[in-house]
Point group: C2
Amino acid sequence: MARRKKYKFPKTTIERLSYYFRALEDLSKRGIDTVSSEALGGKLNIKSSQIRKDLSYFGDFGKRGMGYDVKYLLKELKYILGLDREWSVVIVGAGHIGAAMANYDSFGKRGFNIAAIFDNDEKKIGKEINGTPVLPYDNLDDFVKQNKIEMAIIAVPAAAAQAVADKLVESGVTAILNFAPVAVQLDENVRCLSVDLTTKLEALAYYMSYSQDKLWKIYS
Amino acid sequence: MARRKKYKFPKTTIERLSYYFRALEDLSKRGIDTVSSEALGGKLNIKSSQIRKDLSYFGDFGKRGMGYDVKYLLKELKYILGLDREWSVVIVGAGHIGAAMANYDSFGKRGFNIAAIFDNDEKKIGKEINGTPVLPYDNLDDFVKQNKIEMAIIAVPAAAAQAVADKLVESGVTAILNFAPVAVQLDENVRCLSVDLTTKLEALAYYMSYSQDKLWKIYS
DNA sequence: CGGCGTATGTTAAAATTTTCACATGGGTGA
DNA sequence: TCACCCATGTGAAAATTTTAACATACGCCG
């Protein structure tokens, strides 16, 4: 019921809240209106104690003996995650990944509106991707300022990423989702999360080689 | 020099090894052949002690007072990460994300060869994406078995992901990179990493709402 | 060839995160 | 209304991960 609780909590909690949110949406769609931490955890492969702890950082949302009211918890999570409003986002880079993001309809459903896509390529400029216009990279500055864009998705080659990030921040963007395989250096009041596709595959490769005992375990 | 060291290390270490690898590649390309943990950390926003610790799980690769030989460390990391061989991968789902993955050339450079893409859509079957054929989903089983595919990328809607994953595992795949926004339940000897695009944006939304003091901090 | 500067590898401490265990309180039915 | 069940919320313990600190070893220079 009461919202404010602890002031510090693990970084990983935020990510899990997002998982809870999605799972609850699914339950809600299926007409289920109450769920226990145990049941929710089963769906997500997360321990029930973890779920209760995560939620406890933000408030008391459940009823003892009963579990959580799905709709109520959804509303609260929506609020906590900042999803109770619309966010305007620009994508920089109209290549395959940029295009895939522009076509990713889940963003819209969550209130992330792709306002424009920016690229240097003459052949792409002026076209639309999933209804979103592709504009010249040179207009990025003005567009971000005029439309008060706060979030951006970087989908350009690694070599260009830092320059793009700098430009975005200078124009007023304060949150960046970066697909370029490079660590961009940013002011600390700008949030940047990276999605590193190669790294994920490499981690899988590691686990597989490991399981095949081809690793350092062999040598001494 | 010596390879085998500790047997347990943080899960996050593997991911960082992948970052080190890429940064070293970059240094190597630029003709730099020695690097200190301090310099490498500066490039990646990672503390030098973290780097030394990470590497120490696998062996002694540096020279005191000197740092690390870039080429040598690259070779060792390649070995540790299991990148000293080719991996055959299939993509399931020829939608925007599947297509983007098929077009992601970095995979090939790392030894991840996309052998085929599978989809149900008649209009897509028979075509090629970046030189890789799109085959009927019904052939997935046979193809994976015949070509001894070990890794797969799932890029289908959430509702289909579990069934696809089951089919892949049944056919012999033991590592999965999952783009579907759902937690797939798998046998524990199958490795599965998820890339959750919405979750990342949601985490950003959280951080931004937080910084704007619109969160639980307000209430009591 | 010995001392000096430097950056490693490691050990110990600190910080963070997860898990456990259980007291607590809401709801239900007699 | 009372007793019983159940699942929460939490405080403490365990596990994991990061950071700090430093002794050690390498190479260079005089």
